[in-house]
């Protein structure tokens, strides 16, 4: 095969333009898939040393997963619906998860619907609360590998513990966080070398994230390990030389290799098929995901020949195709002995054919039987009549064609529901609770007529039939008698107006048709408070029934649960709009595209938005300024703190270095001070004693002085008295002579009387001297 012919063949294999998806989740899970492929194909040529144990463990993991979920024939295959941990609408989760998990077991996605609700959240909570979950704990793996299979989270026990811990520590965890955490765990623990390229051919725009002419996305974090065969420079350059010869319509391939050249030293290049230049997306065409890598033996292989390890997988392009398609497994057909496949287009089916190895190992290819992947049902339906009735696939609501008139009924709070609403919403509930894997024991019939019991499968135990009697909705739950024992059956009637006679009569007719003995049991349930909500409440009863349904259920579950008809209507409307958005062929137009607002309304809205934006900008500036000031203050405080810290450290340093000496000096000084104080106290005591002695002396002197004074005073009194006596005597003597003084008288008698006066003067003088002293 020449390179040109091969390129033409590859064009046929992958129709439509190719785009690259550079998304981490996809890449991470694709890494796992590539690792699986690598491990399975490398069992015979074990070359790695460091990760040998890991790979052996991983191969066991793969083998067990395969035996559990995929090895059985399609008829006996365990139903596995995708369980997504999200509160997001189904469209978003579908967009994220579809190209990843489907690459492992794509038939999961045939059960995906946009009606996924928060019920999925319960599983995460269950994982967090319950110590034992329904996960496949028997798979022993030391890695944190999380594989999502249907209702099960296949992981190791340790990984499950970490998952529970994660969920407990983040009560409000949402899907991206959880999923990213899981992938981070897987990425950090999974040390397999792999290089992955995801090439998506003609796809619906919903699944195209980067519609560029880049074909190859190479992961950089899985490279550079010991046993990864690097692409040699010669083959890369030879590939580059061949690119010059290819026609211009293969520019995308050049671009891919140019992009890849950045990772040239890390990973081998990947084979990509050239894409046509047409950018028209055909929504009906299927999406092909190619995950490829080069085996060690393929390093020197011609880059234009198909890679020996390429997995082509056919995916539906829209939720409608997803729901109606029955895509079977395309990866693991015989345990862990997996061979790379390439897609072989057929008339009505695409076949995954094992690709012969680079050494021309055609015998190995013959060992693997081709795996057929059926085409999407929409395409099948368009081609022929092989599939007559695609009931309720979301794309066109199945056989129920909802119209804008039906939507208006849901918008109107007093609108009356019709049979279209009931049947369509019942289907939504089935998808929500069972993901299309409706239990074999349950039959939810159309409200137009009760089903023919002879045509029902024998496994059916419960029949749910919405009952319409004289403009009123109710629902009948029939437990069919087993083994033709009428006592085993029962008929329950859930009616929001339980006193009505017509539904009871109709239920009795049904009971007779079902050959059930006894009487109709009217179930205690919510009652309507107006004349409009019987249809909504009927769907609510069916919702409660399906929520509590189990295959071994024998008695009627509790339907007595309060309901808010307004919220129920909104929920139905929400799912209606979701389905319309997910349906590219929907005839119903949503209000935002149907009624355009007037210019004045638009101008008012723009003005309002501008005002709000201005306010928000001002608030942002204020917030930014406040943050700047806070930062400034914080920095100042920080600087002060640093200074204090330095000072304290310096002080501490000094204390550490001079601490003992300082202590001794202080003690010495204190002792000296104490000694001084004690000396001072002694001196003070002496002074006190001296002062007391002086005081006593003064007191004695004072007493003496007082006595002297008293004595002197007595003497003075006596002297004065004597003076007074003398003066009286002298006066009496001198009166006759009137002489004054002794000179005056010449006789001796008078002169001799002067001497006592002198003696008194002397005594007086002495007393005065004592008193003054």
């Amino acid at each position: 095969m020449t390179p040109n012919t091969h390129s033409q063949a590859s064009k046929k294999n992958v129709p439509g333009p190719e785009v690259a998806i550079a998304r981490r989740p996809r890449l991470c899970l694709a890494d796992q898939i590539s690792a699986l492929v690598q491990e399975a194909t490398r069992q015979s040529e074990e070359s790695g040393t460091a990760s040998r144990k890991q790979r052996s463990i991983f191969s066991k993991l793969v083998k067990r997963c395969n035996e559990r979920f995929a090895a059985a024939p399609p008829s006996q295959r365990e139903p596995v619906a995708l369980y997504i941990y999200t509160l997001f609408p189904g469209e978003a989760t579908d967009r994220v998860l579809r190209p990843t998990v489907s690459a492992v077991f794509s038939h999961h996605f045939s059960r995906l619907s946009p009606t996924i609700s928060g019920r999925l959240r319960q599983f995460v909570n269950t994982c967090a609360s319950a110590k034992t979950t329904s996960t496949a704990r028997h798979i022993a793996s030391p890695w944190d590998v999380y594989l999502l299979f249907g209702h099960r989270l296949v992981t190791s026990a340790q990984a499950l513990k970490r998952l529970n811990k994660l969920v407990r520590s983040h009560p409000g965890i949402s899907f991206p966080d959880f999923y990213t955490a899981v992938l981070d765990k897987a990425r950090s623990r999974l040390r397999l070398n792999a290089s992955v390229a995801i090439t998506v051919g003609s796809a619906q725009p919903m699944y195209i994230l980067e519609p560029k002419d880049i074909n190859v996305v190479v992961d950089s974090y899985f490279n550079g390990h010991d046993n990864l065969p690097m692409m040699e420079e010669d083959s890369e350059t030879s590939a580059g030389s061949e690119e010059e010869d290819v026609p211009e319509d293969q520019n995308n391939m050049k671009a891919s290799r140019n992009v890849y050249s950045r990772y040239e030293d890390e990973s081998p290049p990947l084979e990509t098929t050239p894409s046509p230049q047409s950018s028209v997306m055909d929504p009906k065409s299927s999406v092909s995901v190619e995950i490829g890598r080069l085996a060690p033996a393929a390093r020197n292989h011609d880059p234009e020949t198909p890679s020996p390890l390429q997995l082509f997988h056919n995916l539906p392009s829209s939720p409608a195709d997803t729901l109606s398609s029955d895509i079977s497994l395309g990866l693991f057909s015989k345990g862990a002995e997996v061979s790379p496949f390439r897609i072989s287009p057929g008339h009505n089916t695409h076949t995954l054919v094992p690709v012969a190895g680079p050494a021309g190992d055609s015998a190995a290819a013959k060992e693997h039987t081709p795996i057929n992947t059926t085409m999407p049902a929409a395409k099948k339906k368009a081609e022929g009549k092989s599939k007559r009735f695609d009931l309720f696939h979301v794309g066109s609501f199945g056989r129920v064609e909802l119209t804008a008139r039906d939507r208006a009924v849901l918008v109107d709070p007093s609108g009356w529901l019709n049979d279209h609403h009931i049947d369509w919403y019942n289907h939504c509930l089935l998808e929500q609770y069972f993901y299309g894997n409706k239990p074999a024991t349950l039959h939810l019939s159309s409200c137009l007529r009760f089903p023919n019991l002879n045509k029902l499968p024998k496994t059916v135990v419960w029949v749910v039939h919405p009952l319409w009697t004289s403009k009123h909705w109710s629902v009948v739950f029939v437990r069919l008698p087993r083994n033709d024992e009428p006592d085993d059956g029962a008929v329950f009637l859930a009616n929001s107006l339980p006193n009505m006679s017509q539904p009871l009569a109709k239920a009795t007719e049904i009971m007779a048709a079902c050959k059930v003995d006894g009487h109709v049991t009217v179930v205690d349930c919510a009652r309507q408070t107006n004349g409009d909500d019987c249809g909504v409440l009927t769907t609510h009863f069916i919702d409660l029934f399906l929520a509590q349904y189990s295959e071994n259920m024998f008695t009627m579950p509790d339907l007595h649960h309060p309901a808010n008809p307004t919220l129920l209507r909104r929920r139905m409307l929400f799912q209606f709009d979701q389905a319309v958005r997910a349906d590219p062929f929907a005839s119903v137009q949503l209000p935002h595209s149907r009624s355009s607002p007037s210019l004045s309304e638009l101008a008012a809205k723009i003005e309002n938005f501008t005002k709000v934006a201005g306010d928000a900008q001002v608030a942002n500036e204020q917030t930014r300024e406040a943050q700047h000031s806070d930062v400034r203050l914080g920095r100042e405080d920080e600087q002060q703190g640093e200074l204090r810290m330095e000072f304290s450290l310096d002080k501490l340093r000094r204390a550490r270095t001079n601490g003992p000496i300082g202590y001794d000096g202080d003690i010495r000084a204190a002792r000296a001070e104490i000694q001084d104080i004690l000396d001072g106290q002694e001196q003070a005591a002496e002074k006190v004693q001296l002062a007391r002695w002086r005081l006593s002396c003064v007191e004695e002197a004072e007493g003496i002085a007082t006595a002297v004074v008293e004595g002197v005073a007595n003497v003075v009194d006596q002297g004065l008295r004597r003076l007074d006596g003398l003066s009286e005597v002298r006066t009496k003597e001198m009166l006759p002579t009137l002489s004054v003084g002794p000179e005056v008288s010449k006789e001796g008698e008078v002169v001799g009387k002067k001497r006592p006066r002198d003696e008194d003067d002397k005594e007086t003088r002495a007393a005065k001297r004592v008193w003054q002293g």
Partner: protein, 99 residues
């Protein structure tokens, strides 16, 4: 060719006749239509509604218990000659007037 003409299969080896007789009944009236296998049933439905004086959105057409869409044809539904389409009234309910 002669044998084919004798067997009454003018389709050149095709066993199924090109035209089908379809009976449409609503339990009260029966109307027969003769249509081609590739004709959309929308035409038949509109003709029945027009004849019965009903609006198309107020009735439901069922074939073997399944709803019939406007875009369906006898060929896609694998209908045979003499098959019957059931007609049901639109079921709309809020509460019972005759309570």
């Amino acid at each position: 060719m002669a044998d084919n003409a004798e067997n009454g299969t003018p389709g050149g080896g095709d066993d199924q006749p090109e035209h089908l007789n379809i009976k449409v009944t609503d339990n009260n009236n029966e109307v027969f239509f003769k249509i081609k296998r590739s004709t959309k049933l929308e035409k038949l439905m509109n003709a029945f509604c027009e004849r019965q004086g009903k609006t198309p959105h107020s009735v439901r057409f069922l074939f073997e218990g399944q709803r019939v869409q406007k875009t369906d044809t006898p060929e896609t539904l694998d209908m045979a000659d003499g098959d019957t389409l059931e007609v049901h009234q639109e079921q709309i309910g809020g509460f019972s007037e005759g309570k």
